[in-house]
Structure formats: structure tokens, C-alpha cells
Amino acid sequence: MSPLIEIRQLAFAWPDNLPVLQIEHLQLERGEHLFIQGASGSGKSTLLNVLGGVLTGFTGEVRVNGLSLAQLSARQRDRLRADCMGVLFQQFNLLPYLSLEANVSLPCVFSRQRRAAAITRSGSVAAEAKRLLQRLGLSPQQYGKRPVAQLSIGQQQRVAAARALIGSPLLLIADEPTSALDGHSRDLFMQLLMEELQQADITLLLVSHDPALARYFSRTLKLEGNT
């Protein structure tokens, strides 16, 4: 089986600038969890955007799930992201006007594959959303009626994690998901996230400047960047 992510000779530069990102070789197997640590400007967000399929114009070879990103159309890259990736931002992950459950169910609107997976797992998308919220410590009975805006940032990030996990994507990419959280919420968040990832056998690629997160990972990559 091919590795989930395979990068060779990747370089990315904005026009007329020095490269912001250079990776000789990086391989990530299914189920592996990789922590990419780097200061701001080290190119870690650029890497995530390349892997997410929204940033093109790089040189070298980037394969996700065996597909070469450079050879896919914009539409195919969007499809790949919808079907195979969960994405977690630093904050503002949720649509404030939707309920918790509707927020978590969103990926199943955009991907038939993930919808099918969610239904296989729990019988319905709603049931799977409830299960994930429960797993991440946000029981729908307790939190379901609350508007998203009334949740703490730590709680919002856990809802976002549930959303990224629904329908068992192959890969979760996370960009500084804990930087808005205090130490305690961060630990709680990471613990719950790692447990669920382990159980669903989902690959994780997390970028952060915070070295404290390294202890949750077996592999760490330090990006130096050109500064």
C-alpha cells in the first residue's frame, strides 16, 4: 500500500521571492501522527495549504493517497479535500448560525463518501455527530441547545474536531488548533483528539509553534524556513 502522504523535492516560493518552503523528502504512512514544529514564517501553513490542495504553483512531487496533486484539477483537489481530509483551524471553525450537530454534520453535505461512512458507523449522520460530540466531552443533551457563540473556545475547538473526524477521513490536517487555548484546555483537547484518532485509525498532520505538543507525537519534524 502506498504511503498516505509522499513529498519529494517540494519547494514553494511566491513569485520573485526566496522559497518559503523546502522539503527534500517526507513520507507519512496511514495512521501515523506527525507533528511539524516551526516558528511563524517557517512555511508550515504553506505546507498545509499545499497538502489541502488550495495552493498550487509548487515544484516537486506531492502525493496524497496515491494522487499527484500537481496533476489534479482544482475541482478534483476540492473533491479530494472533501472526501479524504478533515481540516482544523486555529479558531473560527464553526458556522455560528448552525447548531452544534449541524456544524459537525457539515462534511457529510459535501462528501457522499463521508456521509456513507458516518451512516455505516452509527446508522445516521445525526447519530454519528452525536456520538462524536459525546466522545469529545460535549454531550448533545447538555450542549445541544446552546448557540455556538456561547461555547468556550476550547469547547468550540472540540466541536471543530468532531466535525473534522466525522465520516472517518483518511487524514486530519490541523493548523495551530490549540494556540487559542489555555494549558488545561489544550491538554484536554489533545487527549480527546488523540484517543479518537487512534480508535478510528486516522492519520494526523499537525503544525504548531508550540513545542509542548511534541509529547503527543511519535514523530516530529522541525521546519526552519527561510527567514
Binding site: 498545509l48 475541482r75 473533491r79 481530509m85 458556522l95 448552525l98 453535505v109 459535501f110
Partner: protein, 419 residues
């Protein structure tokens, strides 16, 4: 399906500004369609002022002038028809009926029309409606008067009330025919025609009050009492105009030409439809101005919607980033925004129609009674349907702007947003 749900929830979350937009749109839609309706129906009302009359005959003048004074009671005739010319016309075998009209007197600003009961029998307006009495009877006495609906309402007359008519047509005529008071025999139902503002009396009654007058002034000491008047021969000597119905419409052209070129008598005969059309040309400018104003109102409504939509774009940057991360393509995101605008426009339109119909339902009666304006609760006309299509088109076009903005936001090469 789910997408519509997202659009609806998103709109609902911004309900204050969305409701305002909706209301603006609804109001401008109702205004535009309402003005179109009033325009169309007042035009129809205008052309329906006199129907079923084949020719209007008066002394020599222009067709529009003849129409104005004989039907709309505006202005006055420069000269009259002699009675025997009228009698000749009345007895012509081609003529089915005639309604004599004698104008020149007034009552507190309202025109007094000398005529006969043929008016009730033959005059038609709208879709062939006859004059109907709301109260009382037709002209049944030398000094009886039948009041138009507006006259009776504003001057608060009841049947059997007495009134005095004034010589001339000014509101402040000094010459009152106060030696011969008239009594109200009947009151007409509202018609939406100039007859609402007229008083109908008999030709003989008019003749009677002018006994002892020469050249528009009373001769001193020559006035008669009503009792004396009843003894006299009151056959009028002249008339202002006559409405003529023919046995066969085909003869209208022929008779018109015959009358217009009669060497013995300087007459003008016009076909009401043709003259109305000519007169309408004059009124059209106002018609166009009305439409222009309501079009401006719609433009303002759409601009308001656009302002609200564009104003929310900055806040929605984040929403777009989330949808993008979920794998929504830029096209799909702009489609979502377009859908939103369309939803708004359609809702605004429906609300506007509801407002219009509700308004018409409420105002129909007062409009007819106060302004003689007949506005019916009708299914949208072709013209209105066209306006609806234009409104939808404008909504769609204005929706393209935020949609394109969203598309460009979605194309930005990054997941999440940078602060």
C-alpha cells in the same frame, strides 16, 4: 437541499438587516406594481368614460375640445347647436338614440348638465355599465335634479333637498337662479366618470331658469316664477352637444363626414374612441413620469439589498473559509450566495404582492368613492408580469456581485484565515 438549509439559516442569523431588506424590496415591488395597476386601470377608466356612444356631436371645434367639454366637463363650448339641427339628427333613421347635453350652469363648482332621461337609458361607461341610482328617482319633474355621487357626498345632499343653481361655471358665480330652486330627485351610484361630479337636470328646467335672460344677463323685471314657467313653452332653442348612438356602427364614418361637411350647420362630429386616443397623448407624459418614479423606487430597493449583502461580506469571509475547508468549490460557494439573493428577492416579491393585494383590498372602496378611481383586485397583467420578471432579473444581477466577490475570496490560496 441541505444547501438551501444553510442559506436559510445564514439569512435567519442576520434577520434584522435581512428583514429590513425584505421590507424595502416588498415595498418597492408593491409600489411599482401598484402604480402600474393604477396607471393601467386609470387608463382603462379613461377610455371607459364613454362607451357605446358612436358619435359626439357639437358645434364646430376641435375633436379634443369637443370631447373635453361634452364628456369630461372641462372648458366650455364656444358655440352651440341649434335645436332644430339636433331634432333633425335625432329623427335621422340611422340614429338609434341621442342624449342631449346642455352645459353652462353650475352649482357650487359642480357642473350642471341639462339632459333628459335618455341619459339613464343609453349612456354607457366601463364594460357597458348603465347609470344607476343609489337613492331616489330619475328626472321626474321640471325642477328635479339628479346628483352625481361625489356631489351628493361632498355637499351632503339627500333626496328632496332643495338647491339653487348658479349661472355660469365659476365657483363663485354671483348670478344665482334663486327664483327657481330645484329639488333632488335622485343620487347616482359612483361611476368613476366625470358624471360623479355633475348635476343632471332637464333641458326644460334649464330653459325655465333662463326665462327672461338675454345674452347671459337677466332682464330687469322679466323673471318668471316657477308657476309661470310651467305654463310656458320650454323647448330649448339650443344645445351644447349630443351623444349619438347609431343603429349600425358601420354608419358612423359616413354620418360623421356628412355632419362635418353639412353646409347649413357648422357641426363637428367625432368618434369618442379616436378623440380619447388623441387626448390620451396629452396625459401620457404624466403616465410615463409615474412609471419612472416607481422604477426609481425599485432601483433604490435593489440597491438597498445590495448594500446589505455587500456590508455582510467582510463578516462572511470566515464563513467562506470554513466552507472552502470542507471542500466546497468556489463555484459552489458563489452559488450559495446567489441562492441567498434569489431567495431574498423571491420572498420580497411575494411579500410585495401580498402587500399590493392587501392594500388594494383595503383601499378599493375608498379609492372609488373619494377619487372615482376604479382599482380592481386582478391577477397580474402582462405588463405586471413583465415587471415581476424585471425585478427577479435585477435581483439576480445584483446577487452576482456578492457571488463574484465570494468566488474571489474562495480562490485565495489558503485554508482558514490569516489575521
Amino acid at each position: 437541499m441541505m444547501f438551501l438549509h444553510i442559506a436559510a439559516r445564514s439569512l435567519f442569523s442576520r434577520r434584522a438587516s435581512v428583514l429590513l431588506t425584505l421590507f424595502t424590496l416588498a415595498l418597492s415591488t408593491a409600489l411599482l406594481l401598484g402604480i402600474e395597476q393604477i396607471r393601467a386601470q386609470s387608463k382603462a377608466g379613461f377610455f371607459n368614460t364613454v362607451t357605446g356612444t358612436d358619435l359626439i356631436v357639437g358645434a364646430r371645434s376641435g375633436p379634443v375640445q369637443l370631447l373635453l367639454y361634452s364628456v369630461f366637463h372641462v372648458g366650455s363650448a364656444t358655440s352651440n347647436i341649434r335645436w332644430h339641427s339636433y331634432a333633425e339628427l335625432r329623427d335621422d333613421p340611422r340614429v338609434a338614440w341621442t342624449i342631449p347635453l346642455s352645459l353652462g350652469d353650475s352649482h357650487r363648482g359642480y357642473r350642471v348638465i341639462g339632459t333628459d332621461n335618455g341619459m339613464f337609458e343609453h349612456y354607457r361607461y366601463g364594460d357597458g355599465n348603465r347609470l344607476q341610482l343609489a337613492a331616489g328617482n330619475q328626472l321626474n319633474d321640471l325642477f328635479s335634479v339628479v346628483l352625481g355621487a361625489e356631489v351628493a357626498r361632498t355637499l351632503d345632499y339627500q333626496p328632496n333637498d332643495e338647491l339653487i343653481i348658479a349661472h355660469g361655471t365659476g365657483n363663485t358665480s354671483f348670478m344665482q337662479h334663486d327664483n327657481m330652486p330645484f329639488y333632488v330627485s335622485g343620487i347616482l351610484k359612483p361611476t368613476g366618470t366625470p358624471l360623479d361630479r355633475a348635476l343632471l337636470v332637464t333641458l326644460e328646467g334649464l330653459e325655465a331658469v333662463h326665462l327672461g335672460w338675454r345674452a347671459g344677463v337677466p332682464l330687469p323685471g322679466a323673471q318668471a316664477t316657477p308657476e309661470q314657467a310651467r305654463q310656458r313653452d320650454l323647448t330649448p332653442r339650443q344645445l351644447t352637444a349630443a351623444l349619438v348612438g347609431l343603429n349600425s356602427r358601420m354608419q358612423a364614418f359616413h354620418l360623421q363626414r356628412e355632419l362635418n361637411s353639412k353646409p347649413s350647420d357648422p357641426l363637428t362630429a367625432v368618434m369618442p374612441g379616436v378623440a380619447l386616443q388623441e387626448l390620451w397623448q396629452v396625459v401620457r407624459l404624466a403616465e410615463k413620469a409615474l412609471l419612472a418614479v416607481s422604477a426609481a423606487a425599485l432601483l433604490i430597493g435593489v440597491c438597498g439589498m445590495l448594500a446589505v449583502l455587500l456590508g455582510s461580506m467582510q463578516q462572511r469571509r470566515h464563513e467562506i473559509a470554513v466552507l472552502r475547508a470542507l471542500g466546497a468549490s468556489p463555484i459552489r460557494i458563489s452559488a450559495l450566495l446567489l441562492q441567498e439573493t434569489l431567495l431574498l428577492t423571491v420572498l420580497g416579491l411575494l411579500l410585495g404582492l401580498a402587500l399590493l393585494w392587501g392594500g388594494i383590498h383595503l383601499l378599493q372602496q375608498p379609492l372609488l368613492e373619494q377619487f372615482g378611481l376604479h382599482v380592481g383586485l386582478t391577477w397580474p397583467s402582462t405588463q405586471q408580469n413583465r415587471l415581476v420578471a424585471i425585478i427577479l432579473g435585477m435581483g439576480l444581477c445584483s446577487g452576482l456581485i456578492p457571488a463574484i466577490l465570494a468566488y474571489r475570496m474562495a480562490l485565495v490560496n489558503s485554508l482558514g484565515q490569516r489575521h
